[in-house]
């Protein structure tokens, strides 16, 4: 039955795939096509004279497409399961929910990889217009590593999105997860280890960090040494973090997708992977980062709004009010401890 559903779902997704491929190719042709080569002009004797040319591989274009897809595809593939009306149809079909989850995950993966590959291929063909301008030795490695990273990020977002009971909450969960590591790293190690760990963002930042370093070599600015890339971009941190998170998310998705009660759909999203944990993390980290009483008040107001979104209304629970009181206390303790560690 899974094969039948896969065939049916792929047939339904074909149009989406064609749109995504067309969009990716068009964006690559427009941006890479016009920016891979630009003149270096110097002001000599009262006029601008072209003295040479700069070349850019524009690898950021396919990677940006990949990053946006990592964010959008979980929403596209799984928002169907966030409406009760749809579940009447989906869960009554003679296919297990787990199999259904796998089919949608795999379809999303295809929608992720194919447009990215097309964009990368077009970008590569555009690069060939300038013989000798680029070092191609690390291009395939970059393509594969970014794709691997993209798949991991996509997997995390799929898991996180499905922890929510509505599409809106799912989008919020993805946004919150996008910056949470960055925020924690800055709040905890912001003073002593800022340079090393502040890049631990998700999606755009991680992929961009990688791509920028690869571009340094591919564009011929530096000597092509793989070791340099790993050292320079903290590649090991990125890949290890995302590989672990990606695999855990895949397992989590496989185990939990079929077990979520249908009647919880469209209700308050009470998952530990969502607002319940994210609001406290964001509030405390925000206060640690902006150590100013006015900023703390703004953070508290934002946290109240966050709880209103969480509870889907203006009425907050008693536990929410207690936490709002506790946040500044924890932030104060953390600030003190971090400062003591730094000065010692």
């Amino acid at each position: 039955m899974m094969k039948s559903y896969m065939r049916s779902h792929l047939r339904d997704s074909l149009k989406t795939l064609l749109y995504l491929v067309a969009f990716s190719v068009a964006v690559t042709l427009i941006f890479s096509g016009s920016n891979q080569c630009y003149p270096n002009e110097d002001y000599i004797d009262g006029e601008w004279i072209v003295t040479g040319y700069y070349y850019s591989s524009m690898l950021g274009i396919p990677v940006t497409i990949l990053a946006i897809s990592c964010f959008a595809l979980p929403v596209l593939e799984f928002s169907f399961f966030k409406k009760r009306r749809n579940l009447d149809c989906a869960y009554a079909l003679p296919i297990s929910r787990r199999e259904m989850g796998i089919v949608h995950y795999l379809t999303g993966l295809l929608l992720l990889v194919i447009p990215y590959t097309c964009s990368y291929l077009i970008n590569f063909l555009l690069m060939l217009r300038y013989p000798g301008a680029f070092d191609y030795r690390l291009l395939f490695e970059h393509y594969i590593l970014c794709m691997l990273l993209g798949i991991c990020i996509y997997s995390v977002y799929v898991f996180v999105f499905n922890e929510a009971n509505s599409t809106g909450d799912g989008v919020w969960f993805i946004i919150l997860w996008t910056f949470v590591f960055y925020l924690i790293a800055r709040a905890l190690f912001g003073i002593s280890y800022y340079d090393n760990l502040s890049e631990m963002g998700i999606s755009f930042m991680a992929l961009n960090g990688f791509t920028a370093s690869y571009m340094d070599i591919i564009d011929g600015d530096r000597v092509a040494l793989t070791a340099d890339i790993w050292e320079n971009t903290k590649g090991m941190i990125y890949i290890s973090l995302w590989l672990v998170l990606g695999i855990l998310s895949m397992i989590g998705h496989y185990l939990t997708f079929g077990k979520r009660p249908a009647q919880h759909t469209e209700e308050v999203s009470d998952s530990w992977f969502g607002y319940r944990v994210m609001i406290p993390i964001y509030a405390v980290c925000g206060m640690v980062l902006w150590q100013d009483i006015g900023a703390w008040l703004i953070v508290e107001v934002i946290a109240v709004v966050g709880y209103m979104i969480y509870r889907k209304g203006l009425h907050l629970k008693k536990s929410d009010w207690i936490l709002l009181v506790v946040f500044p206390v924890i932030a104060y303790i953390m600030t003190t401890v971090t400062a003591l560690l730094y000065w010692n």
């Binding site: 039955m1 039948s4 559903y5 065939r7 049916s8 339904d12 009306r85 749809n86 579940l87 009447d88 149809c89 989906a90 869960y91 009554a92 079909l93 003679p94 296919i95 297990s96 199999e99 009660p261 249908a262 009647q263 209700e267």
Partner: protein
Amino acid sequence: MIEVKGLTHAFGEKVVLNGVDLSVPENTIMGLVGINGAGKSTLLRLLAGVYLPLYGSISYDGVGPEVAETRQKIFFLPDDPYYTTWMTPASLFQFYSAFYPQIDPKAYEELLRAYDVDMKGKMRNFSKGMRRQVFIALALAIKPRYLLLDEAFDGLDPLSRKLFKDAIISFVEQEHTTVIIASHSLRELEDFCDSFVLLDNNRIKHQGDIAQHVGSYCKFELAFREPVEEAAFEHLPVLAVNVRERFVQIVLEGDSEQMRQELEKLSPAVMDEMPLDFEEMFIHDVQKKKGAEK
């Protein structure tokens, strides 16, 4: 055979079904009735495997609907079925044929033709009744062993209702299907259901044969020489009574002959027994309950 034992379901703290026991024999049409919020749709969703029961069990020939293979034998048509904006009756058929290989394209086309629905029209442009007709045709073309229908008559015009009822009856005869229909159109249910279940207050209040159930009540219209009070009938098993000075309309629980004798003791000038239908009985039943609650 569908067996439901001790079925309990709740949404948060709100209990919707509480210890429901039910047995639906093969090859029958069962009507599921109850006021809004009685739990009819929830029961159907539980029977379809959309919701998983909090407590209790549901089995189809010994296997629960949570097993995908069991759902192969079931088709659930909810009150607001899913379709995408680009879907046509033809693409809807294609979608479902991936899951139900036994689906009969000829039967589907014939039914749609009978309903005068365009196979290639966009379903978003159809009226509610037309969409309902498409899904009914789909349900019958799939030929499931168990057919669960929620608000089956909703949006259907009188001719479509007749077509639908005829199709269901011949379908049950030919395919030996068991059908459960939840509806507020009790007159329609009375026409073709073998049995019924009345859900009330999270539980099954009555179940059994509709004709037998209606037959256990009787309705009289009486005229007295002098104005009478409602209290005059208090000693009788009254389901509903309407007193307008000398004229009385009364629904009683029990054998009509016995009740006639009881009423004659009150010396009415005129007494006529009136026909009582399922819907009227249901209304009186609900009104009595609401009156008691007040």
